[in-house]
Symmetry: C2
Subunit: 187 residues, 2 copies
């Protein structure tokens, strides 16, 4: 059935979805500042005015585009470190565009920074619950910063050494450090 035959609400829903996909892709590639409404509209094959009509502002479009479905990889029966490393494998391979878009802009765009702090904060909270000792929150935060460092270096800065390495190899090398951070005291 052609788009023209669809009910108006359904057509609008599909167009919004296409705009959001294009926005996620561009925000992830070049960041908030450089992703123009014009370029997003061109990529979604709609008029720029329609983007503004549907989303009101670039800021609002960004917020909707980076809304991260929290996969909650830190629950389940497995070992804590193995779950973290499994998340990392996913991130290196096929991290959701919305997360990449948020990370790309988190150092220069206030809303992306706030969103990154919220997301990391929730992950730190969950992780800290499974870590023994008084410094559980600091340890959890450091474990997350290791994940942030690897993801930023691999997916956004695109360091050759990381891109050429199999995710299992990266996981193998990070395992002892993450075990030390999340296990009994290390001093």
């Amino acid at each position: 059935m052609g788009e023209k035959m669809l009910p108006r609400a359904e057509r609008r829903r599909r167009t919004e979805g296409r705009i959001l996909d294009a926005a996620r892709k561009l925000f992830a590639e070049v960041g908030y500042e450089r992703a123009t409404i014009r370029a997003i509209a061109r990529s979604a094959e709609v008029d720029p005015a329609l983007v503004m009509q549907y989303f009101g502002s670039k800021q609002e479009l960004f917020q909707q585009a980076v809304r991260v479905v929290d996969a909650d990889a830190a629950t389940g029966g497995d070992d804590l470190v193995e779950r973290l490393l499994a998340t990392l494998g996913v991130k290196l391979g096929e991290m959701p565009r919305s997360s990449l878009a948020m990370m790309r802009s988190m150092l220069t765009h206030p809303e992306a920074a706030a969103s990154a702090r919220r997301t990391l904060g929730a992950q730190i909270d969950r992780l800290a619950e499974s870590i023994p000792g008084e410094d559980a929150r600091l340890r959890a935060a450091l474990a997350m910063t290791v994940m942030v460092g690897v993801t930023v270096s691999h997916r956004l800065l695109e360091l050759d050494e990381l891109r050429e390495a199999p995710p299992e190899e990266i996981a193998r090398l990070l395992r002892p450090g993450l075990r030390a951070l999340t296990g009994p005291d290390v001093s």
Copy 2:
């Protein structure tokens, strides 16, 4: 002696220095895109036209502002990991503005990204020389990504857990992981 009494070349040198200081500060705080020539000129107390006259373009001003004096903390007699952790202490406490300016923009500005890759690449090269085994470069790259993760999370994202922790405590918790990454095989 008042500025007016100085030779012209010396006056110009001082004004350029003031503009570069203001540029570093603003680039470090808000990133390349949001740091306008107008705001940099205001902070340096000069006319925006003078900034353009001296530096030609925002791009050129950025390049000169983020030129990092490579402190080369990874040479010297001490243990490899302790040297890395000492650098981290410096970074958390009083990282040079030029480095912060580069890191702030490295995910969204192509020149800052290239500059970050060059700087990290040189550090990975040096580190890899001291690491045994075939996967020395990957291990060195992962050690650097840990440093990147902590610096980004502490200085740019400003995670509470990290800002409230003494640098020695952060170093203590990261030590086992960095030892595993840079020492004999860990599998």
